[in-house]
């Protein structure tokens, strides 16, 4: 509950009250699986950030399209080269950067829209809530991939920014429903009634009193959401309507080798391994976060 806690501070002067965030972080770090996941994810993020410094080659350079194409893994090219003679390792490292960025930015879009929609629907109630929820039902029954197919095929040659926007706009329905439920439950909480009695505006109540109580489910949804977007982006890129070529994303690299899966196995294996590792660590962390939040509530 918000507000100062003078009583406990007076009785136990030595122990400052720990913030919910601190509690969450501590309870996650207690599990070995989440510690490992955090380290692995940290390395992948670092790889993405440092890609320009650690990549052995330029990811877009095609040094010799005849002599250096389709080379299997070797010392000079640990992950081999692609049909355009580009170094796959460098592309995978740059792919980490692009795929993670897309995952994070698209999830921010989803969170913004989802929280706003769910909060408004839950707080306003009545017919508006009913209509908004039926629309949500409809969106939830279109598989996300199909919805994106419908959009992306209609708009060919999209930029990465537009792709991020669409990925984000197709991913808020589930979260929105959770937020609505929480807001509905909070609407009759004592501190909300108190704020109403003190004359706080609707907006103030939503932003100042309800939003802080929504942080935990939002953090869980964000962690799992990033994982989901990374997989979706890769799938769309694999189908040729995701990240525009010649940019390197994990899905794009796999797509480059998709016509010759059997001979160019290194082109699907290595970016895929990075992707699975990223998604797995995000899932582990997301679940650990959910466990710790469910235990507290």
């Amino acid at each position: 509950m918000p507000g100062p806690t003078p009583v406990s501070a007076a009785t136990k002067p030595a122990q400052p009250r720990e913030s919910p965030l601190g509690l969450t972080v501590r309870s996650i770090l207690r599990k070995r699986s989440s510690r490992v996941a955090l380290v692995v994810l940290g390395v992948i993020v670092l790889v993405g950030i440092l890609a320009p410094f650690i990549a052995p080659y330029d990811p877009a350079a095609q040094p010799d399209i005849v002599a250096l194409k389709n080379l299997p893994p070797s010392l000079a090219h640990p992950f081999g080269t692609d049909p355009y003679s580009r170094d796959v390792l460098s592309r995978v490292l740059y792919g980490a950067r692009l795929s993670l960025t897309i995952g994070i930015l698209a999830t921010i879009v989803s969170l913004t829209v989802g929280v706003a929609y769910g909060a408004i629907s839950g707080y306003m109630g009545g017919w508006l809530d009913a209509v908004m929820m039926r629309v949500l039902d409809a969106f939830l029954s279109i598989p996300r991939l199909l919805l994106l197919l419908g959009v992306l095929v209609a708009w060919p040659h999209l930029s990465v920014w537009a792709l991020i926007l669409f990925l984000g706009l197709s991913g808020w329905f589930g979260l929105s429903r959770i937020v609505r439920g929480q807001v509905l439950a909070l609407k009759h909480a004592e501190f909300v009634t108190a704020a109403q009695a003190l004359g706080a505006s609707r907006r103030r109540i939503l932003v100042k009193h309800m939003l802080p109580n929504l942080v935990s489910p939002i953090v869980v949804a964000a962690t799992l959401g990033i994982a989901h977007v990374i997989v979706l982006e890769a799938g769309l890129s694999f189908l040729g309507i995701g990240v525009p070529q010649p940019l390197a994303s994990w899905g794009n690299i796999i797509q480059d080798g998709a016509d010759q899966v059997a001979t160019l196995w290194w082109m699907s294996l290595f970016p895929g391994l990075f992707m699975v590792l990223t998604v797995m660590t995000l899932n582990i962390l997301g679940e650990a976060l959910r466990d710790s939040y469910e235990r507290r509530s």
């Binding site: 029954s141 991939l145 209609a154 796999i254 797995m280």
Partner: protein
């Protein structure tokens, strides 16, 4: 009960109507129209395009177009597929049974396997077996559908050539086979796509069911059973599993979108002639009506799936049955 069914049916109808509206908005938000997308070809004269637009009613005001569109949909018309030069309804109609077959096999196999895995895990909760199985299910849960499909294709058709590379039948020999041989040929081709989809789906079923079983275990009736002297095995089988089976029905409804999405990628990679294969190929040829048709049919399948699951749940739960 009847009132519940009626309400749920009405709800599904509203959802389908809104889905139709959403797809209509999608089509009309897009730049140009189906003809500027398909016929980027300079050899097609403006006059031909105008005629086509008039033929398809694209020159009419939007509200009229919307009514025509809804009317056509209600009659099962999904437009004309440019790349197949056939109605979309026919293209998807021939492909749909293949997709349904793939999904049905994977659904049955993954729920059987998933529940079994969960039972083994809960019977030995906290053991190495439990942890290992949790790790494996998490791994498959985190795998992109298309990547696992590529891996199984690589491993079981190229490296260890057991299964055929793709398609639903042997392109040459199928015609010359006996009836039994043809059936075997079909099963042989179905095996790898079905195994891949099953692996993907099993992971989420097992994870979900393990959690459901663990939720049930602290219940009073389990304690009672334990006090009565039942073995842990009997408790799991006779008390825990029965009560944890109800959420499985919900999960069946929820698993439809994932199964369908998985089928899309798997069909593309194994050249399995289903709806996903048709729609994914339509992306390449910019056959927009076919893609939109796939979106609509896919959404209807998901809606029907969750409707069916809800009705099944109401029927199976004695607490709801009496209402």
């Amino acid at each position: 009960m009847i009132r519940y069914i009626a309400r749920r049916l009405a709800q599904a109808a509203v959802i389908v109507a809104i889905v139709a509206t959403i797809t209509f908005v999608l089509i009309h938000l897009a730049p140009g129209d189906p003809f500027s997308a398909v016929m980027d070809n300079p050899n097609v004269s403006e006059k031909v395009r105008e005629t086509l637009r008039a033929q398809y009613g694209l020159d009419r005001p939007l509200p009229e177009q919307f009514l025509r569109y809804v009317n056509a949909l209600a009659h099962g018309e999904l437009g004309w597929s440019f790349s197949h030069d056939r109605p979309v309804r026919e293209v998807l109609g021939t492909a749909l049974p293949n997709t349904l077959l793939l999904m049905a096999v994977a659904l049955i196999a993954s729920f059987t396997l998933g529940i079994l895995v969960a039972l083994v895990q809960v019977a030995r909760r906290g053991s190495i077996i439990d942890h290992t199985l949790s790790g494996i299910t998490l791994l498959f849960f985190s795998m992109p559908d298309f990547w696992l499909a590529i891996l199984t294709l690589l491993a079981l058709t190229y490296w260890i050539p057991i299964f055929p590379v793709g398609g639903a039948i042997d392109p040459v020999m199928h015609e010359y086979m006996s009836l039994g041989g043809r059936l075997l040929d079909r099963l042989w081709h179905l095996a790898l796509p079905a195994i891949t989809l099953t692996l993907l789906a099993t992971a989420s079923v097992a994870r979900y069911q393990r959690a459901a079983l663990l939720d049930v275990l602290p219940a009073d009736y389990i304690r009672t059973a334990r006090l009565k002297g039942l073995t842990e095995r009997e408790i799991l089988r006779r008390h825990a599993l029965r009560n944890a089976l109800l959420p499985i029905i919900t999960l069946i409804g929820l698993s439809f979108p994932a199964l369908l999405t998985g089928a899309f990628f798997i069909e593309r990679i194994f050249a399995w002639p289903g709806m996903g294969y048709a729609v994914v190929n339509a992306i390449g040829t910019r056959d927009y009506p076919l893609v939109v048709g796939g979106v609509i049919i896919g959404s209807i399948m998901v809606t029907l799936g969750s409707l069916l699951a809800d009705l099944l749940y109401a029927w199976a739960d004695p607490r709801l049955r009496s209402h």
